[in-house]
Structures are given as C-alpha cells and as structure tokens.
Amino acid sequence: MPKLTIDGKELEVEDGLNLIEAASRIGVDIPHFCYHPALSVVAQCRQCLVEVEGVPKVMPACNTYVREGLIVKTDSERAVEARKATVEFTLINHPLDCPICDKGGECPLQKTTVSHGPGYSRFEGPEEKKVRQKYYLSDKIIYDPNRCIMCTRCVRFTEEVTQTGELGYEGRGFRKKIVVFPGKNLDNELSGNVTDLCPVGALLNKDTLHEERVWYWKFTDTVCSLCSNGCNITVGVDPRKGKVARVRPRTNVDVNDYWICDRGRYEWTDIQDADKRLKDPIIRKGEGYEITDWEEAVSFSATRLLEESRKPLQSIAFITSAALTNEELYLFKKLGQTLGSSNIASSIGLINDKKTFGLLSSDPYPNSTGVKDLGYPYGSNMVFEVIESIMEGKVKSLYTAGIDIFDFVKKEDKPRLSEALSNLSLFVAQDVMLTETLRLAHVILPGASAYEKDGTFTNDRGRVQRVRKAITPPGTAKADWEILLQIGKEINETLFSYKDPGDVMNAIANEHPAYGDISYDNIGMLGVQRSGPA
C-alpha cells in the first residue's frame, strides 16, 4: 500500500490506482473527460493535468499511477494553468450551446469551464466554429458532431465493453466525427450507456430531446424491475410533471457495474401511459362496472373473501407472480393461508445464468428468487395446475395479483378459462393495467408499478435490494402491499398489524432464516446478499 501526498494531504491507497482515483479518495476532484474507470486509459483529452514533484512536465493524472512517496499537486499554479489551457483549447471548437443542450446542468465540460474556463474568447471578431449536421446513430440516440470533444469514450465502450464495435471515426483532425458504418446502427442492448458516458451533449437520447432540464429532477435510487438481474438504477423525476424522465444506471460492481440495458433505460414507459393504467377501484354491479372508492373495494373484497372461506366446501385460489416485491408476496401468501386456501401459487421465471452482456436475463421477472425463498410451491407448474383446477370448475373463488392468467393457457383453452372465470362466485383481481383476466373480475384493485412503491426484490444471485417509490401511482391507485395489508387488516387485525414494508421485512426475517439478518436498516443503497445458495 503506497503512501503518497496529494495537495499536502498524506494518504495510503492500494497499488494500481491512478491519480484521479487516488485524489477522489480525499475528496479532490481532478477534471477529466477521456478517463472512465471501466474503459482503457488513453490519456488524450489532457484535462486531468497535475504537477508531480520531480517530474519536469505536468502529467495526466489518469495515466499516472500511485507510487510510494509521490508528491502530487493538483492545485498548484502550474497545474491549474495547464488545465485552463486545455479547456480553452477544447472550447475553441465547442459551440456556446449550453442553454439549448440537454446535457446542460450535468455536463462535465460545462462544469470544468466554470472552474477553469477563460469566460471569454481570445479570438477577435466573429468566431468561426465548425458547423455540421446532427445525425442519428440509432433510433434512440442522436449525435451532434459540433459538441463532440473526441474523448473516444463512446467508441471504446463499443470496442471494449460490448465488443460489438458499431462506432468508429470518420476523417481526422477537426473534421473527425463519430459514425456508424453506412447502413448499420448503434443497436446493441447496452447502447444507451453511451449517452451517460459522453462528457458533453454530443450523444443524447431522442426520447426526451429538448423536453427535460436536469436541474428540475429529483433522483430516487432504486432497482430495475424488468428482469432478474436487478440492475441498480436512479430515476430522475421532474416533480412538476410527476413523471419519470430518465432511468440511469447506478454503479454497483456486484450487480451491473456502471451499466443498464436499453430495456431498463427505455422500455418501461407504458406504465406512464395514462390510457393504459387503472386509476381507481372498480366493482361489478349487475351487468356493468362502477368506479368506487377504496373503502368499498376493500370491505367488499374482505367480506366476500371471508364469506367464501367459510363455505363448507370452500375452494379459494391465490395466484400471483414474481413481479411483486418480497413484502407483497409475503402478505399475499399470508392472506391465502389465513383464509385456508390450499391453492396458493406464483408464476416464476427460469432462473439461469444466460445473460446478454452479463446483464439482461431471459427471466423477465425481478423477483423469481423471492418467490422461491418465501416458500411458494416451487416450479411454474403450480400456476398451470391451479389454472387447470379453475377450468375444471374445482375452484370457486379466486384472488389474482400482478398476473394475467390468460398468458398461461393455450389459445384454444381461452374460452374455457373465460367461462370458468365468469362462473366463479368471487373473483378479486389486482394489477396495474387492464388485462383479459381483470375484465372478468368482480372487483378490480389498481396497484402500483415498481417505480411507484417501496419494497425489496431478491435478484437471481440472491441479492436483496430495495425498490423505492419515485413517483405516485395514477389516480387513487395504491402500492400492492398497501392493498393487501388493508384487506388483511379487515380480515384479521392482529395478523396484519404491519405498519409498512420495512415492518413486513422484519416478519420475513423472523420466519425465513436466509433473510435472518436482513432489515431495511442494513440493505443500504447496494443491497445485501441473503444467506443460502443463489
């Protein structure tokens, strides 16, 4: 462990660190554009210059590594002058675009210009900047060559991280541009990450182009719910709009490194499609449906569920899916058990290690491991068995949460299932969007998406991670745990006396040894490994 001095402070760090990383340990921020911890070091932007005692020239901090006794000055006049010269040089061909640039407010070049920039141009008279057309690199990403500072991060990303090599250069010198080969696209499953990597506004997302300003956003750290990998994300929300503007990766080297896939980044938007969402509880009255309030919906569901459970030859089934949080799965199962159901099942994805780029899993559920851990009868067969019993008319009443059971029957069986569902004496259904299943329910309870509630998911490697509420669900829709808790309370106040999801997690920890040490206090930002095999 070499000891070195940076700006007069002594520190001891592990071998192999460069000076940017070492300085960040003591809170010293060395500006840099081309360096990124996940990419090869090319030392070509020259923005990270620092003074190293005994070395005649200023040195790039990204390509200078810690050594015993090294004395580094990041704030000496020579170092600062060198970095100032670099910004001035970079800005010669960079447009004064900040007011109309989506990167504005979080742009490393903008930030460095504020700290190191000249604030004026030394060119006399009207300045000639390069002016070239923007173009798309894919249907999601637009490139502005005028803003590009040729740090090459994006190209190194496609060469080194995805190894798909879509990006290259065209031309040389100030004419150089980032391009895709004619007729090709930047279309790998991780492509969106280049928009985060770009240290200027040269690579931008088309979906929110000129629509968002980052300084309005409030960020919520949560977990992606679109596959079993459970990438750590941060969700940017403009509170004035109450909508998610952007999903971005949050670094977690044990789960997703610095990246998320394009599904996690772009393909969650239908939950914000107001037309598709269920906004209020709906109850069947005679032949028609009526919008109702939660009081009626909850008391109707609870009373009718109790009645059904007390019938002599009762047969209540409970079906959910691995889209629900651990806390919700726990409450759902407990509700079923309280009502004496012997048909409690959850759909589950195939937990395997086949992943695209080490991230994107073929299991589309965020919580298949949770389903298993919480003692749902294992194997997706169970859902098929229960559905079969429904179609055979053996099940008299049904509660579904977060699942469209029509997805689980063959096309030719759908009419049979429809008929069976219409014949149920009670059908309670909870979900975020109207599905084929929900249309046949007696009461529809509008739930919340993973961006709208608190809880935990257990990813495919057994890591328990927190989902946090970033936005409120539409209308009067509620988090699924809240709905289950309210119905539970009506049925048995003492059995369902939990305050919140954290409280439910404590109950899970009590009953399931693998979760014994886990509580909301120690899950933290990056999640914890539950014990037992992944």
């Binding site: 060469e159 290259g168 250069y169 031309g171 391009v179 080969f181 004619p182």
Partner: protein, 161 residues
Amino acid sequence: MPENMKLTRELKEKIDSIVAKSETKQSALIPVLREIQNAEGYLTNESMEEAAKILGLTPANVQSVATFYTMFFRKEPGKHVVWLCRTLSCALKGAEQAEHHMCEKLGVHTGGTTSDGKITLMEAECLASCGTAPVMLVDDDLVENLTKEKIDRIIEELRKD
C-alpha cells in the same frame, strides 16, 4: 466500378499473402486497403466490409482507418488528384485562401470531383515542405509557394489533359 462487386480471386490471393506476412491482422489493414484501392480504384462500403471480415475487424474500424488517411478514396476519384496541405505552416502562409480559391475555380467542395471527372480536390496533412509553404501535391508532384496565379495555371494544365 460496380457497387456490389465482391473481391476477385486474384485480389483475395494478394490479400492473403499480405496477411501471412503481417505480424497482426490489424497491421495488415493499410496494405490490404491499398491493394483493394489499386484494384478497384477506390474503397466501397462492400470492399471495406469484406476487408473487415478477412481481418477480423469491425467495419467501423476499417472505416476509421480508411477515412483517416488522405490517400484512400471513398468515391471514384478524378483523373487527377490535388492534395492541398492543411497543416500549420501552410495554414499560416494562406492555405485557407488557396483552398477557397481552388474550390471556387473548380466548382467543388474539398473532397469533391469536377463534373467532367478531371480533378479531385483533397486535403493532406503536412507534406514535409513547410519551408516553401503553402504547398500542394498534384498527383505525384509537389508544387511549392502557391499563389493564385500558380494555382490557375496548374488547373488549366490539368483541365487540358
């Protein structure tokens, strides 16, 4: 040159022998591109993709190299090619004015070819004749201390040819 032409057998053999002699496949790229350009006159997208396939590189990689070096053509060049130096010494001695003058005279942008197919105007990095800047290369000949008059004369000659 037909756009969809695949490399001929003869060309493929030449390429194979270059690859065999090269330490890495990457280092074979420039000689391979030269060989293709010699045979086909310029580099098409198809031939660059083909080269990429042979050398195990990505097409974007080949494109980066092919567009970096000013001796490679991406479009069919004219009968004569003029490379104007755009590097520092020449820039200080008025290369930009020379370029504007050429463009105006020829009616093309840099990189373009006159409609009669006679002259292509390219730019080059330092031609190692900074002492006699500004300079340009006309096919294989260096022309030094450029002036408008000199440029006009040369264009006249090339047009006549």
